[in-house]
């Protein structure tokens, strides 16, 4: 049985995984604390993680009906993320492992998002191409087998979720505005305005969203309040459409170039209805299969970290006692 801890951004998470059975997954969101700042404030996130981490772990153990003797591993996200936030999880997880006398496994957050696909109710077997899109990362990976993959493409600047949130804010929606933007866009015409798609070249699997965001800024500035009032839903739909087009076309192109017929999705942006619609449409046209884990496994959670930890060898004890957190690095 594995207890996993995840504190890389603004959610404090713990989960217990027993073989293929997910016994518990607790997520304590900090959204309300950061909303007033209009973004995640690292120091606020770190303070909140320290307040929440012990109760969240106690809940995860209790809901799982697990006691310390049942565990043979503690897993924790070591990177990438907010360094001060990661440190709370790493300090806590390695001290738990030390106290209980079990192994510790350090896991990359990205590996966690990929491994969300191995969890019930609908576990996926590699090979597949996985698009990981959230407020913190946007990557395409080619998973050859569980625990082993190649990075195919990634964002060179903003993450897709960040681009959606920032666009939402420009349109006057409250943080975090991605979901609100999605709702607004549903009643709009995505073909009405043209927003640029970054790195839109054959064979380029990387993303760039900063130009898109800038173009919305100038579009709104030059059009003034009038255009915003008259065409808010159409702007939302066109802007979101540009983000989704980049995600869909690059993911499908990557799968095609790798002759891989299976696509998976993970990360918070997978909740976006336009992305789900367009990606399933594209997969149907290409004869590829698309699998999306349930929403609670796509957004940040510790179940995915436990899942990834099954395919990572624990470090020697002396090394994990001295384990640190890292802000960057994919795997």
């Amino acid at each position: 049985m594995i207890l996993a801890v995840e504190t890389s951004c603004d959610d404090t998470c713990a989960a217990v995984l027993d073989g293929d059975e997910l016994r518990s997954s607790v997520v304590s969101s900090q959204d309300e604390f950061h909303a007033r700042y209009g973004g995640v404030v690292p120091e606020v996130a770190s303070r909140r993680h320290l307040e929440l981490i012990n109760p969240v772990i106690a809940d995860a153990m209790e809901q799982a009906g697990a006691v310390a003797e049942d565990l043979n591993r503690v897993a924790v996200t070591t990177h990438p993320g907010l360094i001060g936030a990661l440190m709370i999880g790493v300090a806590t997880a390695k001290t738990l492992a030390y106290s209980w006398g079990v192994d510790l496994v350090g896991v990359s957050h990205i590996d966690g998002h990929i491994a969300a696909n191995y969890l019930p109710p609908d576990p996926v077997e590699p090979p597949f191409v996985c698009l990981i899109a959230s407020g913190g990362h946007t990557s395409i990976v080619h998973v050859r087998e569980r625990g082993s993959y190649d990075l195919v493409g990634q964002t060179l600047d903003d993450a897709a979720g960040e681009a959606l949130d920032k666009g939402a804010r420009l349109l006057g929606l409250d943080y975090p505005g991605g979901a609100e933007l999605d709702r607004l866009a549903a009643s709009g015409d995505s073909g009405r305005f043209d927003f640029p798609i970054g790195l839109d070249r054959e064979g380029n699997h990387d993303f760039s969203f900063s130009g898109l965001k800038t173009s919305l800024y100038y579009f709104l500035r030059d059009g003034g309040a009038e255009v915003l009032k008259r065409s808010r839903a159409d702007i939302a739909a066109s802007y979101q459409g540009a983000v989704v087009t980049a995600l869909v076309s690059k993911t499908v192109a990557a799968a095609r170039s790798l002759s891989c017929g299976s696509i998976c999705l993970s990360g918070g942006v997978s909740a976006n209805s336009e992305l789900r619609r367009r990606l399933s449409e594209a997969c149907r046209e290409e004869g590829m299969t698309l699998r999306i884990p349930p929403a609670e496994l796509c957004t940040d959670n510790a179940a995915m970290i436990a899942s990834a930890a099954r395919y990572v060898a624990p470090l020697p004890r002396g090394e994990w006692l001295a384990l640190a957190a890292r802000a960057s690095g994919a795997s």
Partner: protein, 244 residues
Amino acid sequence: MPVLAIDTATATCSIAIGKDGEVAGEATFAAGRSHLELLLPSIDRLLADCGFDREQLDSIIVGTGPGTFSGLRVGIATARAMSQALILHLAGSGSLNALAAGLMEAGGATGAESLLPVIDARRGQVFARLFSLANAGKPVPQSEIMCLSPGDLLSRLKAERRTRVLAAGDGVQQYHSLFSAASGVEVPCVDDDAHLIKARFHLPPAGATRGYDFAGLLDVTPVYVREPDADKTVLLRKREPWLE
């Protein structure tokens, strides 16, 4: 029964194991910003050196600052996790108090009237608190915890006509010439050991044991004094004009 004490409020990491009111072992070393890497291995080593198993521990006491936020959080997260996993009583203890208790030993010899532990708060400020030596056992706080510039702190001492103040801590080391030049204030040499917080001064007196309770564990939190700064969000806004 052995008690583990931890202090990570400053760039110094200090741990101690006490038993029956005596110090069974201690380690105090420069950790810089690497408390996360260094703390747990040093606890493991000290327990082994003292011949104790972690399961024999009776309780944990951790320095709650004020001090550097991330250092404090590593010490407190570690202490809390150990308490939770091993079902040990956990208590917090002010880091300025431990620094004052350490100074008290030296204070008698120099004939100081009050103690002024000072911890570097960065950004040109220090955390400080005045203690009196009146009580022979323990320094007694005479002020609230202050967060101010060293210049303002010294002006305040002068206004209060305080003399024979013994000041030490990494805040004094950082502004050593300023503190040395102040009249009525005595400071140890810049590299004196008295500037370091030693965890053994957090150890409780013999016989002071209590049971584990989870609510009590959650009460052990850092003394931040300063509000979280939202500077990073502000910076982000400046870099990105479209967010205005």
